[in-house]
């Protein structure tokens, strides 16, 4: 797989470490009434869809940036790549 890094251009997926579903960027509110339940879901439950999936890739062997990659889990086609810092919360 090639991941089209927004700053560095197409890079081999081997340079990256996969860090899971991009929903991990949206950390639950720790002051909420049901914070324990929300954090349990956040840490352990996943949608794990077949098809389009937004996910985090960390460019460990490169510029150490975190990317949000939209990829098809049925075909491995990379549909979109953004810097996680620009996707924000």
């Amino acid at each position: 797989m090639l991941i089209n890094h927004p700053l560095l251009g197409p890079r081999d997926a081997q340079e990256f470490v996969y860090k899971g579903d991009a929903s991990l960027l949206r950390r639950p509110d720790s002051n909420a009434e049901d914070a324990l339940e929300r954090f349990t879901d956040y840490a352990y439950l996943r949608d794990n869809p077949a098809g389009e999936h937004r996910e985090l890739w960390y460019h460990e062997q490169g510029d150490r940036s975190w990317l949000v990659v939209t990829r098809n889990t049925l075909t491995h086609e990379v549909l979109d790549v953004q810097l996680a810092s620009e996707v924000g919360r």
Binding site: A13, D21, R46, A50, H76
Partner: protein
């Protein structure tokens, strides 16, 4: 209709005209007591033990494709019970004991071969960890032997013992471990279950669950509605896809694990060797091909194929451990989809929907678990309570902080 030497002789004298199919191809009935979704090893084993040990006969197994066409035909056929934690080891040791009696119980030659599984160690710390795991295995009634480098050299003189990065200091050997012909496991369970009246329905995809007032009442399938008092799903690799139809989110990511086979060679590897530090393991099939693999690719996928970096990593592991493998040619490679769970351990549990039961999360260890998984899932489906050796394999164990994390890696599925 038993398989035996007398039957072979009789059929030989009769030009083999009397064999017939090993199982029926029934049309689905409108309603069953229990419907198992997934005609792989675990689903078929569940149906067999439900019929043979729990006396439930009105059962169907629904399979989307053909019987044995999923992960039961894609693994590298290794069986072992070399786990450490109390939530796992008694379960896998029960599985090992069931493997030992499987062929007699099913009246089917599954080529169970207890040729020994050897885990190699390369540092004092790793040897200490192996000693601890070996002792945990002995406490649960399994067998384990800690070998030093000389012992390993007697078994496998051609390994690269003096590698600078990973010198071989010894290994943990489970002699009762080994290999089993994976297709024959599916076929054997299917035939035995069919003889007990289980309907095995192939080419029947589950499209949706019918759930009324929080209670499952049946399944919408590509062959129409099939009613059921209880539904058990055993579709590891596709668990999230299937259970999402019932609105259930699981502590699972789907990942691909690749495996490879070399051209056929004369017998050279008598047992199973694992080189965990180098992400490589291998054995030799009875046909002569070297069967080997390594780590999962490490990203979510449902495509049954992996990418080149892992192929390269596996081949580097092979060359690092056994340089003579460089002379062998790789014949083929393939991928299978794993339910990678958040702690590396499986689930055999009820769900929040009444009558809907879940079996999955087997990571890359589902094949060896097949008999015990079937037995424990059958126990749960028939009695409504967990079997004692699967009592910790619950879906709510994360919320309770009761993870079964053999490697201690935390909630990162691609590290287990």
């Amino acid at each position: 209709m038993d398989y035996s030497i007398f039957r072979v002789i009789k059929e030989a004298l009769n030009n083999h005209k009397g064999w017939g199919p090993a199982w029926r191809n029934p049309t689905p009935k409108p309603h069953y007591d229990i419907v198992i979704v997934g005609g792989g090893g675990h689903g078929l084993a569940t149906a067999f033990y439900l019929a043979s040990r729990y006396g439930v006969r009105n059962i169907a197994v629904l399979e989307k494709g053909w019987l044995g066409g999923g992960n039961v035909g894609r693994n590298t056929t290794i069986v072992r019970s070399n786990y450490m934690l109390p939530g796992n080891e008694p379960f896998y040791e029960l599985s090992m004991k069931l493997w030992e009696g499987l062929e007699q119980e099913l009246n089917y030659n599954a080529m169970v071969s207890q040729r020994g599984v050897l885990n190699l160690c390369h540092s004092d710390a790793q040897r200490d960890a192996f000693r601890r795991r070996g002792n945990a295995m002995l406490l649960q009634g399994a067998d384990a032997e800690l070998l030093d480098a000389e012992d390993v050299r007697k078994l496998y003189p051609y390994l690269n013992f003096d590698d600078a990065r990973f010198p071989i200091l010894g290994g943990l050997l489970q002699r009762r471990g080994g290999t089993v012909r994976h297709d024959a496991v599916a076929w054997g369970y299917a035939r035995a279950a069919d003889q007990l009246g289980v309907d095995i329905i192939q080419n029947c995809e589950v499209l949706d669950f019918r759930i009324e007032n929080g209670q499952v009442s049946g399944l919408e399938t590509s062959r129409g509605f099939i009613g059921a008092n209880k539904v058990g799903t055993a579709v590891a690799g596709s668990s999230s896809r299937l259970l999402s139809k019932a609105g259930i989110r699981l502590p699972i990511e789907s990942h691909v694990l690749q495996a490879f086979v070399s051209e056929g060679l004369k017998p050279v590897i008598p047992g199973v060797i694992t080189f965990g530090a180098g992400h490589f393991y291998l054995s030799q099939s009875d046909k002569g091909g070297l069967v080997f693999g390594g780590d999962i690719d490490g990203y979510n996928t449902y495509a049954q194929r992996g990418n080149m970096p892992v192929v390269e990593d596996v081949c580097e592991g092979a060359m690092g451990l056994m340089p003579m493998l460089g002379r062998a040619r790789m014949l083929r490679g393939w991928g299978g989809i794993m339910d990678m769970s958040m702690d590396g351990s499986p689930f055999i549990d009820r769900t929040d929907i009444k009558g809907l039961f879940f079996n999955g999360g087997w990571c890359y260890g589902g094949f060896k678990a097949t008999p015990a998984s079937g037995l424990c899932f059958a126990h749960l489906l028939a009695t409504g309570t967990s079997h004692e050796v699967a009592a910790q394999m619950r879906l709510d164990r994360f919320a309770r902080g009761a993870m079964i994390d053999e490697k201690g890696q935390g909630a990162q599925p691609n590290l287990h």
